[in-house]
Assembly symmetry: C2
Homo-oligomer: 348 residues x 2
Amino acid sequence: MDIARRFESNPLITPADITPSIEGAIVECVFNPGAFIFKGRTYLLMRVAERLTQEDGYVSTLVADPTGEAGVRVVRWALDDPKLDTSDPRFIYYDGHCHLTTLSHLRFAVSDNGVDFTMNPLPPLKGANKLEEFGLEDCRVSRIDDTYHLTYSSVSDSGVGIGLRTTRDWRTFTDCGMIIPPHNKDGVLFERKINGQYACLNRPSGADVGGHFLWYATSPDLRHWGNYACVAKTRPGMWDSVRVGAGAAPILTDRGYLAIYHGCNEDTRYCLGAMLLDTDDPRRVLARCDEPIMEPTTDYELEGFFGNVVFSNGQIVDGDRVTVYYGAADTTICAAELSIDEILSILL
Amino acid sequence: MDIARRFESNPLITPADITPSIEGAIVECVFNPGAFIFKGRTYLLMRVAERLTQEDGYVSTLVADPTGEAGVRVVRWALDDPKLDTSDPRFIYYDGHCHLTTLSHLRFAVSDNGVDFTMNPLPPLKGANKLEEFGLEDCRVSRIDDTYHLTYSSVSDSGVGIGLRTTRDWRTFTDCGMIIPPHNKDGVLFERKINGQYACLNRPSGADVGGHFLWYATSPDLRHWGNYACVAKTRPGMWDSVRVGAGAAPILTDRGYLAIYHGCNEDTRYCLGAMLLDTDDPRRVLARCDEPIMEPTTDYELEGFFGNVVFSNGQIVDGDRVTVYYGAADTTICAAELSIDEILSILL
């Protein structure tokens, strides 16, 4: 049952709204934004995926490089090089080493009403070290007291793990390094300590045994994490049968932590669902929806770079109303409103 | 160049030496032992993999269960159940959920001379919680001051991660939980703090990007880990082209930390190699051998449950001599001596 009230002006932001990082780059997708309130205004921290226009006879791609122009560097190979393999549109393999054909970074947008956004109120965030050379993806923003905690996928040829940076003013950032190793995505902090510890949800991927399940971990200091526990698995035959992962920070309600999460099935159809986690021990799932609370139905969700996808890692809570900012078809940014009470009534 | 001097009495320990945990269980393999000195004697902490004899019309397997007889429980399915899938000899799938056909636990052996071992000087260590239901595998033992640190693969239907228990007396253990989430194996602690922090090597597995690479992490308190960094990747075209992973605790030498590690290639041929890591920053690889220092050559290494494998996660250092205890063909326990100087002379 889709209970999301989509904004009439969806999609709110499309690739045409985004200036490429450097000449020759094409913005392929703008999607999966983190969301936060700063000084009374709504900010999005959007994932921008860029691809280079290709010269005849060569294949080239962007790599994050803090010493390069606009924080990127071009890597180029001759197409007739026998060590080159470009058979997979997502990857460039050269001599056994892998590069991505697109590079993602994080771009800001700001709004006074949560609907009409102005681009680039702050400088973009880009990969800053070896473990971020293939970019930053799908940033969550969790606020604890006056500090914003940015958790994102750090991508490189070493793999995909969870990186963390913190800031109070959005001008200076503390880099806490890679806090959870590959293969892990969908990391997000709870917005208050639980039993005296920081806590997060994350999504390791198994090999042979295990799967793409939702996990929990705790930390005394943000930089070091442990006490890993599996919270929720995929459910065979259901809409979240293949992958599950956390969305934005779970919402503290008087019934528990409400976690809006994503799941996908064998058709790689991504929907949003909800689960309720115990307030004092969020490893305990108190309730989980049988059906999605939002599923891809509109044109802009069904068709795009990767169709049949609604994916959210950013939301703004105002009383009973949660505004979910979401990536539609991995191509544009949209928004929808849901009622927390309505989600809870489905769950309980 | 194989520079290992194998013990004449290899294999030292075979499945016939191991008493099954319960009636009906068959010891399939005894392999991949951790090794340590306690009160002047050499101990092995062996991985014992057991399988159940099968009744007509049923398939059954063991699951670790601290409340069960001998710490295990039998799970059984009727072969004619349409929800059952036994097509993969390693796994039993039922209604989308996975079990393993063998269960591993850790068994002790003790010796006065490092060659002739007596079984069961101490009670076995078995899976003790949900994340260890499919067993404990490939335990490393790192001694820091008077405390032994056991790192092992914790296996369950949630995935494979690194668990840690510590002990001073081998009678009482402190369970530090899962310290690194799936998919991760080959976790081992350095035997002293580095820059005031505990440090470990571990082996996450990538998906899409990344691979089976050797990583580093640090901890202030053993339970929480961070500052993940990739130390060494697989090398295309070489003997360690597909997977690399740490062995026992790196050996502190005056040239750096000597890490004996395993690698395998496209033929799943497992060899041992060596690398030298910077003493103050073990993320820096100072040298790495081009060729293995030990490769499967003898009958007992070439043939067995999984042939063409030498794999070590336990060693005893005495001056220049390192005695490597290793699993041969995933079936038996063997030993070989190497000279640290000789390994260093190859590396430098």
